[in-house]
Symmetry: C3
């Protein structure tokens, strides 16, 4: 593509699904995120007077605090709720009404919801931009941008890498958004998961049209060649019953022994929180980048907020 | 009244009950609210350094966020709690002690409480101004100011209008504050509700001394002549039992058919959240003003905060 | 000690335990707190751009709001959570991971936790300073600084005073931190409590090495000579069973009769919330300083935040 000629404008745009973005747009977001690194330290008045509403129908302290910190570092302010059973919902209000209410209080809304499609619905009704903070089992675009930013920052590039996604690939919403995003690049993808936690067929067939995907890969066999090991938590609350959870919990655990044949420059990512799928002995190795990933989530969200609110182009 | 001669000073004043305000004072608050409209867009530093404590013993996301947004738009900041079972209460602390504690943290307190008289009690103990954010089944003065502001903004005046209050007139706290406020103006009032949800006798007799009130009005019959249709939610949590709730739920529902003979310039208000007492097909008609009402709640609260904190006269 | 020669630097320091501080350091904190008194009224931009994360695993509205108000009055901002069952914990995350996450969002963390040692553990993992907002049954250093500040402010000095601690000396975390702090000064200490709520032996033996301590003192007997009466709530939630609680509740209640022989310049302190261990008739006597104590908690926390964040030396 001829980069000079295409105009990108993120002002007022909803961030609902990673699938709404071209590679060129994603690269632009990552570029802007990089310019946010110094501002994350010094602070900025770029969004002074702007208000972000964080509407978290499903608890996620991590994502909520990341959005709030990003807003504060840009000079903006926050309102919102963090309880799944917040007042208006209990009183029977539907999402569309809540959005048409909150759009009066805030310049932008970050939404977390357990239902697929909630962010899309919100965006249809809202006069202010909606940022999807995680909905259903499929969409978590700001985490995917964070993951890509971390890969590019740590490896210097995204194209040409071999990436393994490991753990719960069925119920983990971050891996779906990430898989769609990676498929826009020149990536070789390996999927490693227990039988019952395999990635859904429709997702796989979509990305297989774009990049080489090895399903049901053997972790030990691929370990020597992969550049990025993306580990996910096996989410108890996504399981229909406790027995199924118990069976797979602990499987595919990453420890120093698992990593014996890993490349010296491989990086390990994890959307966090982790339970015990990465042993703490791995934390101090140079491979572990999951806490840096948290920092990167801030600059990525700073970029998205300033782009969507028109403070930057 | 001779407007030039009377001195009004809201600084340090508690906003406990709509009945504490003269028509002249209410008009002044609505005038100031109008001057807040541009500041609601641009923001202001009028209350920089000031802190609002929102003490919500009863959940109300809408009212809490409205107060917080108003404070932020004026450059102030917020602290508070939104959970009914907040820590100090659970430990057995009484309201007077909580107020004498929080007055040290904040310049002004917005209080929501399930008990009648809680705001009045708080005001007696507090060194900083108390704004009633809804107490018991009777008082919700900031909503009443919002309703009046919306009527004046949309109809150009309050005097001379025919207003119908419909739905739950017994347990809905907003209609009580609004009825008292309307009775200060030249209003003809119509009450429309199921038998078990009629407005309390003492409230009716008070306002009947001031304005004409038609009790138990027939909605279809009055529809062609009313200027303001004020619809309220039938609040499940106010009912002694589920059977009584089920009986009246859905009665008096407003839809396009109900509105067939309405005046073209009639406006429909609702304090929100609604459940299904207004059909969504009404939302896109020019009559529907309930989402604008939400916006108006912000400028009204901006006016109250800046008046009471002495930033404006 | 030769005050001019010793360099004190609080920047980046964790505030975990009162036992980590020398008398000289405590005096410096109290001096700085005094300089915060005018700023508590006017506000300041001293911490503009800085973010405090309040991580309250155990509910404490009072302490949380005090920290947040202190931060706002210095121009900083707040993020955090106030629910004991916050999202990441429910998902199985350990404290070390939460800290290594939140340190990316904030410049300083205030932690409240039910477990002994949680603040110490957090400090070991955190890149940003940790302030202990109350952990386990032992540590509540910011309350102890507040208590000392109140004593010095009201009595003009700390040395030479007779102090009585009354009520629940076993489960109340504030009395432990305070006892350790008082032992650094020339204090005569009296302990007054029911048999089952006596101060733990190890705490007593530590402070007995430094100052005279009268255990199991008789309140009526010592009343005429004590300068500071420090009353604590008998904390229901610390009791193994309700029967034991019922037995001691109401014992050692302070009312006007109890105070008949008190010195005219005696002061009564209480960390609040109180239930009924101080009768409300005492509130309006000049002896009652427990609400002033709340105000003092703000300036003390302002001092700690500005010292630890390096805005002041």
């Amino acid at each position: 593509m001829f980069s000079g000629a295409i105009q990108m404008n993120f002002m007022g745009r909803d961030i609902v699904s990673i699938e709404d973005f071209s590679q060129q747009e994603i690269n632009h977001i990552l570029d802007i995120a990089k310019t946010m690194e110094p501002l994350a330290k010094t602070g900025s008045d770029m969004l002074k007077g702007k208000i972000l509403a964080t509407l978290f129908y499903e608890p996620s302290t991590r994502t909520r605090l990341s959005f709030e910190a990003a807003m504060l570092k840009l000079g903006g302010a926050n309102i919102g709720f963090a309880e799944p059973d917040f007042a208006s919902v209990r009183k029977g209000e539907n999402l569309a009404d809540t959005i048409r209410t909150v759009e009066n209080y805030a310049d932008i809304i970050a939404l977390r919801h357990s239902l697929e499609g909630a962010a899309k619905l919100a965006a249809e009704f809202s006069k202010v931009p909606i940022i999807n903070g995680g909905t259903g089992a499929e969409e978590h675009p700001t985490q995917a941008f964070t993951d890509l930013y971390t890969i590019r920052k740590e490896k210097g590039r995204i194209d040409g890498l071999k990436v393994a996604l490991i753990g719960d690939l069925r119920y983990g919403r971050t891996v779906h958004s990430l898989a769609y995003a990676l498929a826009l690049y020149d990536i070789e993808l390996f999927l490693v998961s227990p039988e019952t936690l395999r990635m859904r067929k429709d997702v796989i067939s979509t990305i297989k049209n774009k990049i080489p995907v090895t399903e049901d890969a053997n972790l030990e066999a691929i370990m020597p060649k992969i550049d990025v090991l993306y580990v996910t938590r096996i989410q108890k609350e996504r399981f229909p019953d406790a027995t199924e959870y118990a069976k797979v919990k602990g499987a595919y655990k990453i420890d120093l022994k698992t990593l014996k044949n890993a490349r010296k420059d491989m990086i390990i990512l994890h959307p966090l929180p982790r339970v015990d799928e990465i042993a703490s002995e791995v934390d101090n190795t140079p491979l572990a980048k999951y806490f840096q990933q948290v920092h990167n989530g801030i600059v990525v969200r700073m970029a998205l907020l300033s782009l969507v609110l028109g403070a930057i182009k």
